[in-house]
C-alpha cells in the first residue's frame, strides 16, 4: 500500500501536502495514459482477432468445399469432416476468448479510468477552485486594514469559512487520490486475472476438444502411414512403368484370347475420306467404336459410341493389301465395307484372328444356346434402335412349329409366305426359287420393319388354313415329319406351294348363282396334328362338306383388316354347335345385329352377313392373337385402319382370285391376299373395270406399307401403270405416303416414269410441297447418277444415311411422318393462299 499523507499535512496545507498532491496527480496522469494505451491496443487486438476468426471460418468453409471433392472416398470424406469440425470448434472458442477479452480488459479498465481516475481529475478542478478561494481569502484577510474593523471581521469570517472549506476539500481530494491509488492495483490485476482465466478456459476447451478427437486422429495418422506405405509401393511399381511397355507388347502378340479392344485407324467412307483413330471393341456380336477421339473430343452430339457392324455373324474379315497403307484389313458385311488399319503387322493379325474367332463363336453360340435370348440383360449399344427379336416371331400362332414338317423351334422363315420353317424345310424352300419362297434366317439376318409386319400378319396357322385346307383329300403324299427323308419333304413342299394342291378351290360364281346352296368347300383337317395351333381345333370338327345357303346373296366383299381390334369374343366354337351354321358374334359393324343369318366358315373365312353379303376374311385375321409388343401402336404405319368404312361390294359374277386380291389389297387384308395368291392370282393382272389398276395400286391406296411389301415380295410388278400412266409411286406420292414412297424406292421403283399427262412422281411431290418425298426422290436419282459415274464407290453414303433415317422414322415414328406430311400439305395450302414470299 502506498504511503499516504497525513491529514495534518492536508489541514496545514503544507508544501509537503502540495508536493504530494502534484506528485500523485502526475502519477495518476501517467497511469491514465498507460491505461488508455492498453485499452486502445486491446481494442486493436480484439478487432484483429475478430478478423482472424472471420478468415478462419472462411477457411473452414473452403475446407467443406474440398470435402465435397472426396464424396467417392468415404474415409477421406469422414476424416476431412472431423478435421473441419475440429477447426470450427476451435474457432468458436477463439470467438469466446475475444469476447471475454473485450468484456474483461476493455470494460473493466474503461470503468476504472472513467470512475476512479476521472473522479480524481474532476475533483482536482474543484480543489483548485477552493484552494484559490482560500488563497484569495487569505490575501483579503491580510489586506484588511486595521482601521476598518468591520472589514477585518468580514475578511476573518470569509477566511475561516474558506479555510474550513479548503480543509474539507483537501481532505476529500486526498481521499479520492488515495482511493484511486489504492484501487488501481486490484482493478488492473483482477482484470488481467479475468483475462487470464478466459485464456485458460480457451486452452482448456481446446485441450478437451483435442482429447475428444485424439483417438480419431491417431487412427487417421495410422491410416496415413498406411497410405504413405501404399504410395511408396505404388511409386516403386510406377518406377517400373517402362517395363510394362515391353511386357505389353509381348502379351499383346501372345494372347490368344478373342477379347480384343484397342485403337484402329478408320477410313471415313465419306466426306474428307480421312483416317481417324478410334477405340474399337467387340460387344455382344457388335463391332463398336468410341466416338471420342484420342483427345476425348466429342465428334457429334449423339451417343458416344457408334456401332460399326450390328451383327458380326453376317460379316467377314480379310486383310487388305492394295492401297497405300500397311496393316489394313476390311470388315465386310452384306451392305457395307469398312477399312481399318492396325498399328503393326502383329496387331493386324491379332485383330483379324480375334474378329474371325468371335464371328465363329457368335455363330456357334447362336447354334448351341439359341433358345436363350442373348442380349436381354446386356445394355443395348443402340438404345434408339428398336431391335426385333426373332422369338417374337415364334409367338405368332402356329409359328412355334415348322410350317411344313411341324418340327419344333423353327429358325428360318419365308418372308413372302409369312411362315416359319425348320432348317431342312427352308433348304427345300430355297430350292423352289425366290419367286416361290424367299428364305431368311430368324436369328442371323437383319430384318426390315416391313418384312416383320408381313410376318406378323400371317403366320403358319393362317397360311396353313389356306395352303393345307384340303390336306387329306390327297392322300398319296406323305406329310413330312421332323426326321423324314428329304424326298418326302421336297414332294410335300412342292405340292403345297408350287402346285398348290391342298388349296380350296375358289367358289365358282356360276355355281354360286346356279344353286341355292352351293357346295363351296371341302373341309377336312385330315391328320393335321396341330394341337399347338390353338385355332386348329375348330376346323377338326367340320364335316366333309360345308354348304352355304346362298339365298339372295349376290355380292361379296373383303373385310378390312384391323390389326388392333379389340379382343372380341370368338365366334362360338364350332364344336359346341352340331351344325356348321355358326352365328358369328363378332360385334363388328358388319354384322352387329345379325344373328341367325350369318354363316361363318373359318377355314375359308367366309361369312354371310344379314345383307346377304358374302364377307371374306372375317376370320382369317386371328383376332385372338395379340399383336406382340414389338409392333406396338406407335409402329402402326397403316393409315385409315380404324375408319369404319364399309368394304366395297362386288357382284358374285366377278368373284375370282384376281378380284379377290384386288379387293383384299385395298383393305390390306394380308390373309385374304395370301389366299388369293394361293388361288392363283396373276401377279401382272390389271383391273379392266378400274382404270387398269394393279394390285399394287390398290395396296398403295390402302395406305398400308405391309400390303405393298407383301405384294412386292410376291412378285407384283412395281412399275405397273394404270390407264392414266400412273405407277404406284405416282399414287403414293400424290397421297403423301412417305413410308410407301420409301419402300417403293427401296425396291427400285422407276422414279422417272412419266404419266400420260407428262407428270413424274417428283413433279407431283413438288406440287404437293412434300419436302420428304421430294428429298427421297431427288436423292435416289442423285444416287443413281453417282452410281453410274463412280464405279468403285457404288452407293452414295449420304443416300444410305438418308434412307436409313427414313427407314428409322417409318419404323419408329410412322405417325410422326404422317402428321408431318399432313401439316406440310396444310402449310403449303396456306402458303399458296398467302404467298408472302
Amino acid at each position: 500500500m502506498r504511503a499516504t499523507i497525513e491529514f495534518e499535512e492536508c489541514l496545514k496545507d503544507s508544501p509537503r501536502f502540495r508536493q504530494f498532491v502534484s506528485k500523485e496527480e502526475s502519477d495518476i496522469e501517467h497511469l491514465e495514459q498507460r491505461l488508455e494505451k492498453i485499452i486502445k491496443l486491446c481494442n486493436v487486438a480484439v478487432d484483429s482477432g475478430k478478423e482472424y476468426v472471420k478468415n478462419q471460418s472462411a477457411f473452414a468453409m473452403s475446407l467443406w468445399d474440398l470435402q465435397q471433392h472426396f464424396l467417392d472416398n468415404k474415409n477421406a470424406h469422414n476424416a476431412l469432416g472431423k478435421l473441419i469440425h475440429c477447426f470450427q470448434e476451435m474457432n468458436k472458442f477463439h470467438t469466446t476468448l475475444l469476447d471475454q477479452a473485450s468484456r474483461t480488459v476493455l470494460k473493466n479498465l474503461t470503468v476504472f479510468v472513467k470512475d476512479d481516475i476521472n473522479q480524481v481529475k474532476d475533483y482536482k478542478g474543484h480543489f483548485l477552485k477552493v484552494s484559490e478561494g482560500y488563497d484569495n481569502a487569505l490575501i483579503k484577510n491580510a489586506q484588511a486594514s486595521k482601521n476598518r474593523p468591520q472589514e477585518v471581521q468580514e475578511a476573518a469570517n470569509i477566511l475561516a469559512a474558506s479555510k474550513s472549506c479548503f480543509q474539507h476539500t483537501a481532505l476529500d481530494y486526498v481521499n479520492y487520490i488515495t482511493l484511486a491509488q489504492s484501487r488501481k492495483v486490484p482493478s488492473i490485476l483482477s482484470t488481467l486475472l479475468d483475462y487470464y482465466q478466459a485464456c485458460v478456459t480457451y486452452y482448456h476447451q481446446g485441450f478437451d476438444l483435442c482429447n475428444d478427437f485424439d483417438e480419431f486422429f491417431k487412427n487417421i495418422s495410422e491410416d496415413l502411414n498406411a497410405l504413405r506405405g501404399d504410395y511408396q509401393q505404388l511409386e516403386k511399381v510406377m518406377q517400373n512403368r517402362h517395363m510394362s511397355v515391353n511386357r505389353y507388347c509381348d502379351s499383346n502378340t501372345n494372347s490368344s484370347s478373342n477379347k480384343i479392344e484397342g485403337y484402329l485407324f478408320k477410313k471415313k467412307s465419306k466426306g474428307f475420306k480421312t483416317w481417324c483413330r478410334r477405340w474399337f471393341y467387340l460387344s455382344d456380336n457388335q463391332l463398336v467404336y468410341s466416338d471420342l477421339d484420342s483427345h476425348c473430343r466429342k465428334r457429334s452430339n449423339e451417343d458416344s459410341f457408334s456401332v460399326m457392324e450390328e451383327d458380326l455373324r453376317i460379316c467377314s474379315v480379310r486383310p487388305v493389301n492394295e492401297g497405300d497403307r500397311r496393316f489394313c484389313f476390311e470388315v465386310i458385311s452384306p451392305t457395307k465395307s469398312h477399312i481399318l488399319q492396325a498399328d503393326s503387322a502383329d496387331m493386324l493379325s491379332l485383330w483379324i484372328s480375334a474378329l474371325q474367332h468371335s464371328i465363329g463363336a457368335a455363330i456357334q453360340h447362336d447354334a448351341t444356346h439359341n433358345s436363350r435370348p442373348q442380349s436381354t440383360n446386356m445394355p443395348n449399344a443402340l438404345p434408339a434402335k428398336r431391335r426385333i427379336h426373332w422369338e417374337e416371331f415364334l409367338k405368332i400362332p402356329g409359328n412355334a412349329q415348322c410350317c411344313d414338317c411341324r418340327s419344333q423351334d423353327p429358325r428360318w422363315a419365308s418372308i413372302n409366305l409369312g411362315i416359319t420353317l425348320c432348317i431342312e424345310c427352308s433348304g427345300v424352300h430355297r430350292s423352289l426359287g425366290v419367286h416361290y419362297s424367299k428364305v431368311r434366317s430368324l436369328t442371323l439376318d437383319a430384318w426390315e420393319t416391313e418384312n416383320v409386319k408381313v410376318m406378323m400378319e400371317l403366320g403358319n396357322e393362317v397360311v396353313n388354313r389356306i395352303y393345307e385346307a384340303r390336306v387329306g383329300d390327297d392322300c398319296e403324299l406323305k406329310r413330312p415329319t421332323e426326321q423324314c427323308e428329304i424326298g418326302v419333304r421336297e414332294a410335300w413342299i412342292k405340292a403345297k406351294y408350287v402346285e398348290r394342291r391342298f388349296v380350296c378351290a375358289m367358289p365358282k360364281p356360276q355355281e354360286l348363282l346356279a344353286s341355292e346352296t352351293a357346295e363351296v368347300l371341302s373341309i377336312d383337317s385330315g391328320g393335321v396334328a396341330d394341337e399347338g395351333g390353338s385355332g386348329g381345333g375348330g376346323s377338326n370338327v367340320f364335316g366333309k362338306h360345308a354348304t352355304l345357303p346362298l339365298g339372295g346373296t349376290r355380292k361379296w366383299a373383303v373385310k378390312k383388316l384391323r390389326r388392333r381390334r379389340q379382343q372380341r369374343s370368338l365366334p362360338k366354337t364350332l364344336s359346341d354347335d352340331p351344325s356348321i351354321y355358326n352365328t358369328a358374334k363378332t360385334g363388328d359393324e358388319l354384322d352387329e345385329d345379325d344373328d341367325d343369318e350369318s354363316i361363318n366358315i373359318p377355314s375359308m373365312s367366309l361369312s354371310i352377313s344379314r345383307d346377304d353379303l358374302l364377307v371374306i376374311g372375317d376370320d382369317l385375321g386371328l383376332d385372338r392373337y395379340e399383336t406382340p409388343c414389338i409392333l406396338g401402336s406407335d409402329q402402326e404405319s397403316t393409315e385409315g385402319e380404324s375408319d369404319p368404312e364399309l368394304p366395297e361390294e362386288v357382284p358374285f359374277t366377278q368373284l375370282d382370285a384376281n378380284q379377290l386380291l384386288y379387293k383384299a389389297s385395298v383393305v390390306h387384308n394380308l390373309p385374304i391376299m395370301c389366299m388369293a395368291f394361293a388361288l392363283g392370282a396373276d401377279k401382272t393382272w390389271k383391273n379392266p373395270q378400274d382404270r387398269q389398276r394393279s394390285f399394287l395400286h390398290q395396296a398403295v391406296i390402302s395406305g398400308s406399307v405391309m400390303a405393298c411389301e407383301y405384294l412386292l415380295l410376291n412378285g407384283a410388278v412395281i412399275d405397273a401403270v394404270d390407264e392414266l400412266g400412273y405407277s404406284a409411286l405416282h399414287i403414293s406420292t400424290a397421297k403423301g405416303h412417305i413410308a410407301q414412297v420409301y419402300l417403293l424406292l427401296k425396291n427400285k421403283a422407276a422414279y422417272d416414269l412419266a404419266s400420260s399427262d407428262g407428270k413424274k412422281a417428283l413433279d407431283i411431290a413438288v406440287d404437293q410441297k412434300n419436302a420428304d418425298i421430294v428429298t427421297l426422290l431427288r436423292l435416289t436419282r442423285l444416287n443413281d447418277e453417282i452410281g453410274l459415274n463412280d464405279e468403285y464407290n457404288g452407293e452414295d453414303e449420304t443416300y444410305k444415311d438418308v434412307m436409313k433415317d427414313f427407314s428409322n422414322f417409318a419404323a419408329s415414328q410412322p405417325r410422326m411422318l404422317r402428321q408431318r406430311n399432313d401439316s406440310n400439305t396444310l402449310e403449303s395450302q396456306r402458303s399458296s393462299l398467302t404467298n408472302s414470299d
Binding site: 465419306k270 474428307f272 480421312t274 477421339d293 412434300n770 419436302a771 420428304d772 421430294v774 444415311d801 402458303s831
Partner: protein
C-alpha cells in the same frame, strides 16, 4: 476407268444453307448454269447441281446441295449434311434477321455436319446497296471470330459468285490434298495450321460501298 467427259480428281459435296429467301437457289443456278430467276419458288426438300472447276491443274467436281430455307419445306432427315465438306451459309445483306439467324445455322452445322467442314459466310444480294442493313465490316468480324471465310455476292449481277465457290472449293482442296499427302495421326484436326486463311476481298469498289453504309 475409261476416259470420260466428266472425269474428275475430287468430288466435293457442298451444302447451301441459310434462311428462306436469301438467294441460295439463285446462287446455285448462277454458279452452275449462269441463270438467275427473279421469281424463283421456295425450294422443297433439297436440290442438287454439279459443276467442275480446276484448281492446281486438278479437276474438282462440286456437288452442291441446295436445301430448303423454310422450316416447313425441310425434310425430316438431317442426313444430307453428312459427308459435306463445305457449306455456304448465306444471308441477305438487306434483311438483318437473316444475318441474325446465322448463329442458328452454324449450330445446325455443328450438330449434323462433319466437324472439319469448311464454312463460308456469304452475304448475298450485294446489289441492293440502298437497302443494306448488315454492314460488311460487322459480318466480316463475325466471320473472323467464328473461323469462317467471308464474302459478299450478288447472284443477280453475278458479283463474286464465281469467286465464292472457287474460294471454298480451293480451301477444301487444300485441306483434303494436304491430308492425303501427310495423313496426320489425328485425322480430326480441325484445320491444319499451315493452311493460310483465304482473305476474301470484295471486288465491289469501296467508294460505291461507302455511300450506302452511312
Amino acid at each position: 476407268m475409261g476416259a470420260r467427259e466428266d472425269e474428275y480428281d475430287y468430288l466435293f459435296k457442298v451444302v447451301l444453307i441459310g434462311d428462306s429467301g436469301v438467294g441460295k437457289s439463285n446462287l446455285l443456278s448462277r454458279f452452275t448454269r449462269n441463270e438467275f430467276n427473279l421469281e424463283s419458288k421456295s425450294t422443297i426438300g433439297v436440290e442438287f447441281a454439279t459443276r467442275s472447276i480446276e484448281v492446281d491443274g486438278k479437276t474438282i467436281k462440286a456437288q452442291i446441295w441446295d436445301t430448303a430455307g423454310q422450316e416447313r419445306y425441310r425434310a425430316i432427315t438431317s442426313a444430307y449434311y453428312r459427308g459435306a465438306v463445305g457449306a455456304l451459309l448465306v444471308y441477305d445483306i438487306a434483311k438483318h434477321l437473316t444475318y441474325e439467324n446465322v448463329e442458328r445455322w452454324l449450330r445446325e452445322l455443328r450438330d449434323h455436319a462433319d466437324q472439319n467442314i469448311v464454312i463460308m459466310l456469304v452475304g448475298n444480294k450485294s446489289d441492293l446497296r440502298h437497302l443494306r442493313s448488315v454492314p460488311t465490316d460487322e459480318a466480316k468480324l463475325f466471320a473472323e471470330r467464328n473461323g469462317l471465310s467471308f464474302i459478299e455476292t450478288s447472284a443477280l449481277d453475278s458479283t463474286n459468285v464465281e469467286t465464292a465457290f472457287q474460294n471454298i472449293l480451293t480451301e477444301i482442296y487444300r485441306i483434303v490434298s494436304q491430308k492425303q499427302i501427310r495423313d496426320p495421326p489425328e485425322g480430326d484436326v480441325i484445320r491444319p495450321s499451315n493452311v493460310e486463311p483465304i482473305d476474301v476481298k470484295p471486288t465491289v469498289t469501296a467508294d460505291v460501298r461507302k455511300q450506302c453504309c452511312q
